[in-house]
């Protein structure tokens, strides 16, 4: 039924692949790193934890070189429109590699984790694998590629969540994550199939063109969008697709929690933005053509739900990890605000907010781990009097939380500032969203401040022993994170410019 391709065709295919590989180097490099780690894990005997960790960090750092090379390349499709290389993608490559490195650092910091886990080898390998997957999520422009990369991230995430085999909560979290993830990706892929049916294309740019050309049945389109959103929404952990996140965040090893709350969330946003900016046609201004409005309304609903639900429920949490899980739901809501304005400023704001969120959230988890190392618990009440015992950690955590609230002079404030600017730049249309945003951030102040309150304002029950910090490395790490959080809160121009450059993606149908 299909005849074999001629030699010329094969030649052209090979040529395309060659060029594609040339633009695919970071991913390849990271995949090599992945295998290398497994090999090292196999050959090296004995306690190799630090070796692997440092290898991973260095390897990831090495990838920066290749990624930076890609700035020069002008945006292009590769692998027959499966994959794309543009500033947007590059931005997220940096982002994910960075988050991966930080996660490794955090993992090294987590004493209990290192004590309990016997074979650490695959752990770092999986982290790298997840980095690759997320990078591919950010740069795939074909439904198939999107599905594959998301599954790659998902599967590694399930494993990492359940990595503490001995720990019930870890396994339970893994199971919930798996079931929930499988179902949502099932829904998503079903949605994909509908889109494919409507357009006969899987490349999102072609899809966009097709839809723009022939139009479509809005009802069916909405159904597809909903199903797809279910898949993306579960990655970004936005209401009502968030239910897995509190349990998973609480159950998973803390480094993985940090990683999921930043990495896979960001990946979800990347793919969400790319899909809806590119695949679904609409005129730039909201409420002008019906398509834009449909899914903007959808995103508005998600965003409001996330902001309110996340902050309100977080008020009740006594477990810090769980509290941060809910807060991450709320932050998903703020990020959605940046997306739904659907313009350059909004994208820029979202990307910047993601960067800030990376710093402050990983930082927060970092300190939480250091404290857990000392107290062996993540319960709010065990934080009493810690401010005295761990001055640096306490100060750093306070800064991160202030930044999460969005108070100056921190990067979190600038993030919120830009998000709200994006909203208000649209005139009075979105003011009410901005109002909800600021109000919920006032609510968030209360539960975030519970932590410093316990650390500083309350005395610990157990007798006060000498201030014993974690290792020098971690001291330095959190100090750097803290300073960066403040520095970029005051001099955020480089980051915002970077975000601006990165806000251009291939085949964009808006702005």
């Amino acid at each position: 039924m299909f005849e074999l391709p001629s030699g010329a065709e094969i030649q052209s295919i090979i040529a395309t692949l060659k060029t594609g590989v040339g633009l695919f180097i970071p991913e390849i490099y990271l995949s090599v790193l992945f295998m290398l780690l497994i090999v090292v894990d196999l050959v090296v005997k004995g306690r190799k934890n630090n070796l692997l960790a440092s290898l991973t960090v260095l390897g990831l750092a090495g990838s920066f070189f290749f990624i930076s090379r890609q700035h020069a390349v002008k945006a292009a499709e590769i692998f027959f429109g499966m994959y794309v290389l543009d500033e947007f993608a590059v931005f997220f490559k940096y982002f994910f590699v960075l988050s991966g490195m930080l996660t490794v650092l955090v993992s090294v910091a987590d004493d209990e984790f290192n004590r309990k886990v016997r074979s650490i080898g695959e752990y770092y390998a999986l982290i790298v694998a997840m980095v690759v997957g997320m990078i591919m999520m950010a740069s795939s422009v074909d439904l198939l590629m999107m599905f594959l990369s998301m599954e790659l991230v998902g599967l590694t995430a399930y494993v990492l969540t359940g990595y503490r085999k001995d720990d019930a909560r870890s396994s339970e979290g893994a199971l919930k994550y798996l079931v929930y993830g499988a179902v949502s990706s099932g829904l998503m892929v079903y949605g994909f199939s509908l889109v494919y049916g409507m357009t006969g294309e899987t490349n999102i740019m072609k899809i966009g063109a097709e839809l723009a050309l022939h139009g479509y049945d809005p009802l069916l389109m909405m159904l597809a969008s909903l199903l797809i959103i279910a898949g993306f929404g579960y990655k970004i952990g936005a209401v009502p697709f968030h239910f897995w996140s509190p349990d998973v965040y609480e159950g998973a090893p803390t480094p993985i929690t940090a990683y999921l709350s930043v990495g896979s969330k960001a990946a979800g946003f990347a793919i969400l933005m790319r899909f809806f900016y590119v695949a679904i046609p609409h005129g730039g201004e909201p409420f002008q053509d019906i398509v834009g409005m449909d899914w903007v309304m959808l995103l508005i609903a998600l965003s409001i739900g996330s902001m309110i639900y996340g902050n309100v429920v977080a008020l009740w949490q006594k477990n810090v990890k769980r509290m941060l899980a809910y807060s991450s739901i709320a932050h998903a809501g703020y990020l959605l605000l940046g997306i739904l304005v659907m313009d350059e400023l909004g994208t820029q704001a979202t990307l910047f907010y993601l960067l800030g969120y990376l710093l402050m959230n990983i930082g927060a988890f970092y300190v939480v781990i250091l404290i857990a190392n000392r107290t062996g618990s993540e319960n709010l009440d065990d934080y009493r009097g810690l401010g005295r015992k761990m001055p640096l950690a306490g100060a750093a955590l306070t800064v991160f939380l202030i930044s999460l609230v969005g108070l100056p002079p921190t990067i979190g404030f600038v993030g919120k500032l830009m998000i709200f600017s994006a909203l208000l730049a649209k005139g009075s249309v979105y003011i009410w969203l901005a109002l909800i945003g600021v109000l919920t951030s006032v609510i968030s102040l209360y539960y975030y401040m519970l932590i410093p309150l316990n650390m500083y304002l309350r005395e610990s029950q157990q007798p006060d022993e000498a201030p014993a910090q974690g290792g020098m490395l971690h001291q330095a790490a959190i100090a750097v994170l803290m300073l960066l959080t403040i520095y970029f809160g005051l001099f955020f121009q480089p980051l915002t410019d970077f975000a601006k450059v990165s806000s251009s993606m291939l085949g964009l149908s808006i702005y």
């Binding site: 599905f147 396994s171 199971l175 798996l178 079903y190 494919y196 049916g197």
Partner: protein
């Protein structure tokens, strides 16, 4: 009669929709983790049928590719899923998902 004799796209879609529904039903109602995973497989296969049908009627090969990859991924997912389920069984001595709710609220 004519409806039965020449099979059209809608038939496929109906089938897949039914499969999808069964899958969801299984996921929502069954207690056993394994059965839930089977439900997930049903959902994925519903998608597969869609892809294949659309591909058949629109003439592109993408649908076929897609369904192939879905099958592969389903297998991978199942592998990991079973590993986790086994681990769960080790700890909880049960694979009844409704009883696994130590973390809530």
């Amino acid at each position: 009669m004519e409806l039965l004799t020449n099979i059209g796209l809608n038939h496929y879609l109906t089938i897949s929709a039914l499969l999808f529904g069964f899958g969801l039903f299984a996921v929502m109602t069954r207690r056993n983790a394994i059965v839930i995973l089977m439900g997930v497989e049903l959902i994925l296969n519903a998608a597969n049928i869609n892809f294949l049908a659309f591909s058949k009627y629109s003439g592109g090969m993408e649908g076929v590719m897609f369904s192939l990859f879905i099958i592969v991924l389903a297998a991978a997912e199942a592998a990991i899923a079973l590993a986790i389920v086994i681990n769960i069984y080790k700890i909880f001595r049960s694979v009844d998902v409704s009883s696994i709710d130590t973390m809530k609220e």
